[in-house]
Symmetry: C2
Subunit: 110 residues, 2 copies
DNA sequence: TATAAATATTATAATTTTGTAATATACTAA
DNA sequence: TTAGTATATTACAAAATTATAATATTTATA
């Protein structure tokens, strides 16, 4: 049971473990209103099909939700706590930058 | 450049996106002291080689650090903020449980 | 009803991640 | 120096993730 919770936590992190999905959340965070898929396609510059799959992954984790309005589908963040997690990661990276570690490590692995 | 930061954020989440790595962090969080690899092997019940690789991934992201003491290598959490992130995820899951969503979704995808 | 627009789903090949097994390294003690 | 202990690294096959392309679904409108 504890086993299962751990697995659910790692699933949560998996949902955030892709640049496009991080960008989706940051875009939704910007104007805390709903954003339609069409606008996300424009702003993020990714393929419609690809974006749709990434949205699906975030939706399954209940990090975002959507409502259909006419032809369009509007997405918004469901758990604002997810945003504070993103902010915390940003702060950790900032700290690592100060110590000169973050960028070097990042560059090393490419 | 912003592009690169987004990529570093998703790399950070990737480091947490595995049950064994979540368990490593939670084990290190328990007694906020150092823990040797041998103890982690015991407690987590995973292969030595496998554990070592997971430790390596967390080390690269600077989430943990190690010091060698004789034959043993002691690990500890480097950025305590990483733990608060884990706690936040726990709270989000708890909320989702209350709404009856979390477990169902988890079970559905197996 | 037929067409078009917006989004989702499916299939699939390429890439990445993972676990196991084997080997290597670093340190201690005899 | 030799043997033993603790941990890391490497090689590789299996499993999971990803992007692209093709197709399907839903809704609006002519």
């Amino acid at each position: 049971m504890e086993e299962r919770i751990v697995s659910m936590k790692s699933d949560f992190f998996k949902a955030l473990a892709h640049p496009t999905r991080v960008r989706i959340l940051e875009r939704l965070a910007k104007n805390s209103e709903e954003v339609c898929v069409c606008e996300l396609i424009e702003d993020l510059g990714v393929e419609q099909s690809n974006l749709s799959q990434h949205l699906s992954i975030l939706r399954k984790q209940q990090i975002i939700t959507s409502t259909k309005v006419g032809l369009k589908v509007m997405y918004r963040i469901k758990y604002p706590e997810a945003l504070t997690i993103l902010e915390k990661v940003h702060k950790i990276l900032a700290q690592q930058f100060q110590e000169g570690e973050a960028l070097m490590r990042h560059l090393a692995d490419r």
